[in-house]
Symmetry: C2
């Protein structure tokens, strides 16, 4: 395409953006119009992609980090022949693939869901890392960012990492249109302010007029030939470019143009330019998955092993058996035990330093390329990545998250290091799986099982040693549970998971000595929950007592209630959880202070049983 044709294409992208938003009655045409020239040049001259084979291993990858500019993306799909005119005008309508913000659940050409700003670059870093270190098929990763979103710290976590890792297969275009949602950005059209920041993070930077298609083309060419560092193209643009009534004006964010017909006329009318996007070079199939024998670690009954240790050891074994398993960590691998994987499979280990948003973004990027990531940090610090986890679920990304140092049982370090809200956070993620093992063999089995699940899978591990109570051949289906104590005389069921399983067993034994039999259920699968076993326990014993090392909202107790919220009769229920703010103390003191140790369980169980007799 020559300059005139490129300009025509860009105008078409603007017109189609205006039309899509007008048809929808909502959307972000002005944010699309500022970036139309960037998109036109990328599509026509630089992007290598086969729209009929989005899984082609040689395809370049494109991420629209400013996901609200989705009309521009869909207009580009139309120009490339991937969607038609009719579909374009379904934008934002019920059932349409063309959602307000793009998601790979709907569209095969979308790498990751965007719409929460500052997430496209971290995910792009993950894909670029896959390209450099694992796939080796030569693809480039193009990320289009807005200027407003450069205020997000996650962008600088990613910028730091991309510079550090010399990701010269990563090219970022920033559509510096000066206007955020509610008004001017911090730096307006000061391109150099952004350039100084990226240069400081070891990026190659280019500053251009984002409406000059030849300048854009030269910048892309220079970026492609830049070796040893990522490139950012900072493009000075105008929001609403091309339509006088909205161009560069405040108050024009996120709404259809006031007079679409007039705007389309001003933009030169409807066109039907089609682009032949250059296909990728031939490339071998993605990473051959080595299908070796899975030889999980085996632990002897009665030994004391921390579940985090079992996690690290099982992950190494899984990595031996499967060539597609990779690990990501937030500079705490000595605590989470992913350091074992780092030693065993250094080529598949990704250190993200203390940047949890980056860590989850990288995991999502790796998963987008077909890898099976395990991302680990303290359970408490996964809260840092909550929005990334939320967006990953919208993407439908298959990632494994592992949170160590769960609960007050960590002891002296105190509340800042205690994961006491992770179960609530992860249970509430759409389509998630939440697992919480109590012993080493169970952990190893669940680590392997996670790899085969869909969506976000979470494993909660513990800092301290716990006794091995299951044999190495025991099975632990996801959605199951284990009844560890049961008799015909059970008068109560204690439901526990993780560290509280061991407290519950001690309590049950102490109560048995006093002639009170209670059932004990190990609810290692917190989501999905084993409704059948819980219902049977409720029917047989009449009363459930849940015990968890977590705040009382959204965790194990609420998971158990899930089994009874369908209008059926509900058993009597009580729950024990961490209801106070812990300080520093030993693990045993913490469990006692929180009222979730064996002594507390036994005392409450006794009251409940006696109350049932009295009433």
């Amino acid at each position: 395409m020559n300059t005139r044709q490129l300009t025509e294409l860009a105008q078409q992208l603007r017109v189609d953006s205006v039309r899509a938003a007008a048809a929808a009655g909502s959307g972000h045409p002005t944010s699309s119009m500022s970036a139309a020239d960037l998109m036109a040049v990328l599509l026509a001259r630089h992007f290598r992609y086969d729209f009929e084979r989005p899984a082609h291993p040689g395809n370049d990858r494109f991420i629209l980090s400013k996901g609200h500019a989705s009309p521009l993306l869909y207009a580009a799909y139309k120009a490339a022949g991937a969607i038609n005119e009719t579909e374009l005008l379904t934008f934002r309508k019920l059932g349409s693939r063309l959602e307000g913000h793009p998601t790979p659940r709907r569209l095969p050409w979308v790498e990751t869901a965007t719409g929460s700003l500052g997430q496209g670059l971290p995910v792009g870093v993950g894909i670029a890392l896959a390209g450099k270190r694992l796939d080796h098929t030569g693809y480039r990763v193009w990320v289009m960012c807005g200027d407003s979103e450069l205020a997000e710290g996650s962008v600088w976590e990613a910028a730091e990492h991309a510079g550090h890792e010399h990701l010269d297969n990563l090219i970022v275009m920033v559509d510096v249109n000066r206007l955020g949602q509610r008004g001017p950005t911090r730096h307006g059209h000061d391109l150099d302010a952004y350039a100084r920041r990226f240069r400081a993070f070891d990026w190659h930077t280019l500053e251009i007029d984002g409406h000059d298609v030849e300048a854009i083309d030269r910048a892309c060419t220079e970026a492609e030939s830049t070796a040893g560092q990522p490139t950012v193209i900072l493009a000075r643009t105008f929001k609403g470019k091309g339509v006088g009534s909205v161009q560069n004006r405040e108050g024009m964010h996120g709404k259809p143009l006031p007079d679409p017909e007039e705007a389309i006329a001003e933009l030169g009318g409807v066109r039907n330019v089609q682009v032949e996007v250059e296909p990728p070079p031939a490339a071998r199939t993605l990473h051959a998955v080595r299908g070796g024998h899975l030889d999980l670690p085996r632990y002897d009954l009665g030994d004391r092993v921390a579940t985090r240790d079992a996690y690290g050891q099982a992950l190494v074994a899984l990595g031996n058996a499967r060539g597609d398993v990779v690990a990501v960590d937030g500079e705490v691998g000595d605590s989470t035990r992913t350091e074992l994987f780092a030693k065993g499979h250094p080529e598949r280990y990704f250190e993200c330093y203390i940047a949890e948003q980056l860590m989850v973004g990288v995991a999502v990027g790796l998963a987008a390329r077909g890898w099976v990531p395990y991302a680990s940090t303290f359970a408490a610090f996964l809260t840092r990545a909550h929005d990334f986890i939320r967006m990953a679920s919208i993407s439908g990304a298959g990632i494994n998250l592992v949170g160590s140092h769960a609960g007050c049982a960590i002891g002296e370090d105190g509340p800042s290091q205690m994961g006491l809200e992770d179960l609530a956070m992860l249970r509430c993620v759409y389509g998630s799986t939440v697992l919480y093992p109590c012993d080493a063999n169970q952990t190893a089995r669940l680590v392997a099982a996670m790899a085969g699940l869909d969506g976000i899978r979470y494993l909660r591990t513990s800092r301290g040693d716990t006794p091995v109570i299951y044999g190495p051949t025991e099975e632990f289906p996801v959605g199951g549970s284990k009844v560890l104590r049961a008799s015909a005389e059970d008068r109560l069921t204690v439901v526990a998971a993780g560290v509280t399983v061991h407290e519950a067993l001690k309590a049950a034994d102490a109560l048995a000595d006093q002639g009170i039999r209670v059932r004990v259920v190990d609810l290692y699968s917190v989501k999905p929950v084993d409704r059948a076993t819980l219902r049977e326990a409720a029917e047989r014993t009449g009363c459930l007592l849940t015990v968890e090392d977590h705040h009382e909202q959204g965790g194990l107790g609420d998971a158990v209630l899930d089994a009874f919220t369908d209008g059926r009769p509900v058993p009597r229920l009580e729950r024990l959880a961490v209801r106070t703010m812990p300080g520093s103390a030993t693990p045993a003191e913490q469990l006692h202070a929180a009222g979730i140790d064996a002594e507390s369980i036994a005392a409450v169980a006794r009251q409940l049983v006696e109350h049932a007799v009295a009433s």
Copy 2:
């Protein structure tokens, strides 16, 4: 203090750090030892503080962002005479004020809880903003960071903002000891790598030998006299400085020294140097709270008003009545409606741009100085600040959070913009209050009530207009609820909040037309929950049906169950919630697709009632 005395003081801080960790059997002495010279010079020559009057309005403020180096902080308190020898050795023990990571809940000299890295600087920015724009008492804010934590994006959100706001009352010392938890940092001892980054963000930078007390002193003096920009002092240090067996060695993080006695001898033995910390200059009392009359907006019954509009209008009124109310926003004030406050009270409005971690950090900093912040963004994007909210609860900070655009009812924008996990996230925060109004008058009352509560208070607002159903004089106590439909023939209770209240009312009216009477409860106070009303409704109607525009985990349904998890008999329960991944659609289509609109409620209610008759 002369150079020799400063050096002695620094050695004492090291010795006391070693002693505290040895007595505890855990802790981070090596991370304390690297920063001992920085702390000694700060304490003896630059910090202006009255330890007997921590609330003194002229006091400088100090934040140990690398909170794991708490032994150093406590050693400094001892040197300043704030704690004694005996207390120092209670470090990390049950009941001690000297927790593993410092918190203001325990110690009056701590500004904010640290221990999750990368949070000290954003909170420091909040305090520095208070100092510059509100308090005007001339205090400085000193933040001590580790080098590892500079990988956190939140640090760069704060660096960007501090540079942009010309916070020359903010001085950061970075203890560049080269070693993170599990090994070397990205940049090791390359001070210039950090300096380039901070300079790019418009900071004044100084690079020094962090063990040269005179160099530290000169740097502090230069920082104090730097006008128009914040200063970062990048100090090259050695982890474990002064003890050969651990100094600058990997694998020595977060554990007592192997031979404390020998280490203390190598450091020159136990000392008892006392520092006379310079008191602050006389300063007027903090911000006089203007105690004006609260004239909340009043809305007419039957009008249609979005609760986010009522929030914005009520916040302006609250700002008129109270001079201590301030607002913070993440560049979406036109959506959250804090733009009204920005117009009405520009001097008390803090724009944080799209940086939600910074936004909450700033709110925590403002609260630490006695201001009453309301921090607002989309409910979905508050997940970005989850870890900051968690840490704020550990601080015991009193902050108001307001999340707009809750639920699938926002319509076409799609799932990335929908808050569907905010209730679960905020309910699980220790000591939090969670409010979810359904009409404008209720919103206004709750906005005012929030200001007087302790801890984290959350208000959930909606995008679309809803009918005004309460009069302007109605009272809405926190912990209460409203029974909107009730009769002696009620056969079911529908519990709703926010948009689903209106759907529930429509359903109840439709059912009444068919001869089925159901009770309707508006559970505007999601936490604490109105147990008495819920229990009475359960007793009278036998069955509860909860309806929420939120995922089914951790939200309204679980809040209702809280009223019944104490071993009492439980009613029959069913809940309706958003169980699928929404796409784009109109608000009405979204509610219907999620099964939480009037039609869905009526259908399920009918089934439940008929089932009860049949069984």
